[in-house]
C-alpha cells in the first residue's frame, strides 16, 4: 500500500477519515475550504518550483542548500499537530532515500511558519504510524465516529453524523 502524507495527517486527526479516504471515499470536492486551500497553494511562492515528487510522496516545494528544506503550505493552523506529522513523514521519506532535510510549515494567510527537524524519536513514531495505517485501512469496517472539535468543518461531517 502506498502511504501518502495526507494519510499520515488523517491518521493523527481522525482514523475514520483515514479509512474512508484510503478506501477511495473522498469527500473533498465541492468544499469551499478545500478550494481556498488549493488557491493558496497555487498562488503563494509562485517563484518556486512546486509539487516535487520523491518516491511515494509529493512535497509542495523544496529549497536546496547545505541542508535541504521541504516546505508544506497550509491554509490554516487549525490542524497543527496532524499537519506536523505529515511533514515529519516527508522528512522521514527523504532521509530513507538519502536526502536528509529539514521541514518548514507555512501558513501564508496567517503569516506564520514553523520549523521542524526529524529526531530519532519522531522517526520511530512515524514507523509505528505507517504500520498502524496499514492495519486500519485493511480493516473491513470504518472505525467508529469520535467527535472532535474540528468535526464541524470536516467534509465527512454529514456522512459521519447522519
Amino acid at each position: 500500500m502506498r502511504v501518502t502524507g495526507v494519510m499520515v495527517q488523517y491518521y493523527v486527526a481522525c482514523k475514520r477519515e483515514l479509512w474512508f479516504f484510503a478506501n477511495q471515499i473522498n469527500m473533498n470536492y465541492d468544499n469551499d475550504d478545500i478550494s481556498i486551500g488549493r488557491h493558496i497553494h497555487e498562488k503563494s511562492f509562485s517563484r518556486e518550483k512546486k509539487n516535487v515528487n520523491l518516491g511515494d510522496v509529493s512535497f509542495d516545494f523544496v529549497k536546496t542548500g547545505e541542508k535541504n528544506t521541504i516546505f508544506e503550505i497550509k491554509k490554516s493552523s487549525k490542524l497543527e499537530e496532524p499537519v506536523r506529522y505529515q511533514l515529519y513523514y516527508y522528512l522521514w521519506n527523504a532521509k530513507k532515500l538519502g536526502k536528509e532535510a529539514d521541514g518548514v510549515l507555512v501558513y501564508p494567510k496567517e503569516k506564520k511558519r514553523e520549523k521542524l527537524t526529524l529526531t530519532p524519536e519522531k522517526e520511530h513514531e512515524i514507523e509505528h504510524i505507517i504500520k498502524d495505517i496499514e492495519k486500519i485501512v485493511s480493516q473491513p469496517l470504518p472505525p467508529p465516529v469520535v467527535i472532535k472539535p474540528y468535526c464541524k468543518r470536516c467534509t465527512y461531517y454529514e456522512l459521519c453524523m447522519v
Binding site: 470536492y29 456522512l159 447522519v162
Partner: protein, 323 residues
C-alpha cells in the same frame, strides 16, 4: 449554494471563453456556471460542442425532457467520484435477496410513514381521509421483495384514492400515465419526473451507482436508484406542491393542454417549477447533523445512509418526516 437551472423555451447553449450562454429569439443570456449544478431542458435545447465540453468539465449534468415533460435522457459527465468498494458492496446488497429485502422494506417504510404524515396533516385540516389512513396503517411490510412491492402498490393506491378528499378541484380517478388522462395525473407525472432528476443529481454527488437499486429492478431502463430515493420523498415534495397549487387555485383548467391526454402547458409548467423549486430549497433543522438542511439535501443524506449501510458501518433507516 448551487441550484438547478430550468430551461422551458427553445434555444441554443453555447460557450464563449469560459462563459456559457443561452441564445434564443429573445437574445443572448449569460448563465452563471459556478452557481448551476444541473440543467433541465423542457424546451428544444441544442448544445454546441464547446458548451458540452465546458459543462462536462464542470461536472454539470444536462437532463432532457420531451414535450410531455417526460424524462428522455441526460448528458452525464464522466463519473468523478469513483469508489470500487462502494459499488461492489452496493451490488452485493442487490444480488443477495435477503439483503436486498432489508433495504427495500426500509424504503417502503419510509414511503408509508411520509404518506401517513401527509394524510394526518390534512386530517387535522378537516379533510375526511381517516379511512385511507387506516388502510395504509394496516399494511405490514415484510417478506421478499415481491411482497414488499405489493405492499407498496397498495399503499400508493389508497393514497391516490384519498386525493379526491383533499383536492378542491379536479378528480383523481385512477393513476394513469403515458399520457396522463386527467389533470391530477398530469401533475403527478410532471412532479415525479422532476423529483427523479433531482434525486439523480444528488446520487451523482455520492459514490453510489445510479443503476443499482433495491425496490425497483435495475433492469428498468432508467437510473433506478433515483426511482428508489425519489419514492420516499414524493409525499413530502411532489404531492405537497400539487395540493398547494390546486387548492389555492394557482393552477386551473387553463394551464393544461387537452389534445393528447392531459398535460401542463408552458405556463402551467412554469408555475409548477417555481413552487417545486421553492419546496426543494425549504430548509429544516436536522436532529442528527444539527444543521439546517434543504429538502433536496435530505436526498443526498439518504445516499450517505445507504453508503454506510452497504459498507456495514450503520444500518440504513429510511427518511421519515419528523416534523
Amino acid at each position: 449554494m448551487k441550484d438547478p437551472l430550468y430551461i422551458t423555451s427553445h434555444g441554443i447553449l453555447q460557450r464563449k471563453g469560459n462563459t456559457l450562454y443561452f441564445v434564443n429569439e429573445e437574445g443572448k443570456k449569460a448563465l452563471p456556471i459556478n452557481r448551476i449544478n444541473e440543467i433541465n431542458c423542457y424546451g428544444k435545447v441544442s448544445l454546441k460542442s464547446g458548451a458540452s465540453s465546458l459543462l462536462m468539465k464542470e461536472g454539470i449534468p444536462v437532463n432532457f425532457f420531451n414535450m410531455y415533460g417526460y424524462y428522455e435522457g441526460s448528458l452525464y459527465p464522466r463519473v468523478q467520484l469513483n469508489s470500487g468498494l462502494v459499488v461492489v458492496q452496493q451490488s452485493q446488497h442487490y444480488s443477495d435477496p435477503e439483503k436486498r429485502a432489508v433495504i427495500a422494506a426500509e424504503i417502503v417504510e419510509g414511503i408509508k410513514n411520509n404518506i401517513l404524515k401527509t394524510l394526518r396533516y390534512y386530517l387535522k385540516k378537516g379533510k375526511d381521509v381517516e379511512p385511507y389512513i387506516q388502510d395504509i396503517e394496516k399494511e405490514v411490510i415484510k417478506g421478499d421483495v415481491a411482497q414488499i412491492m405489493s405492499n407498496e402498490g397498495r399503499i400508493w393506491h389508497s393514497y391516490y384514492q384519498s386525493f379526491n378528499k383533499i383536492l378542491k378541484n379536479f378528480e383523481m380517478d385512477k393513476r394513469e400515465i403515458r399520457p396522463p388522462t386527467t389533470e391530477i395525473n398530469a401533475l403527478i407525472s410532471f412532479g415525479n419526473s422532476l423529483l427523479y432528476v433531482s434525486a439523480l443529481s444528488e446520487i451523482y454527488h455520492t459514490y453510489l451507482h445510479p443503476s443499482v437499486s433495491y425496490l425497483h429492478e435495475p433492469a428498468e431502463r432508467r437510473f433506478s436508484l433515483a426511482l428508489d430515493i425519489a419514492d420516499i420523498f414524493k409525499p413530502v415534495i411532489v404531492e405537497r406542491v400539487i395540493f398547494k397549487l390546486v387548492n389555492n387555485n394557482m393552477l386551473t383548467e387553463k394551464d393544461f393542454n387537452h389534445d393528447v391526454g392531459v398535460l401542463l402547458n408552458e405556463k402551467g409548467k412554469r408555475i409548477f417549477l417555481k413552487e417545486y423549486q421553492a419546496k426543494l430549497e425549504t430548509t429544516i433543522k436536522h436532529p442528527e447533523i444539527k444543521r439546517k438542511v434543504s429538502y433536496k439535501y435530505l436526498m443526498r443524506l439518504e445516499c450517505y445512509k445507504l453508503i454506510k449501510h452497504v459498507l456495514g458501518d450503520k444500518e440504513y433507516r429510511s427518511f421519515r418526516m419528523w416534523w
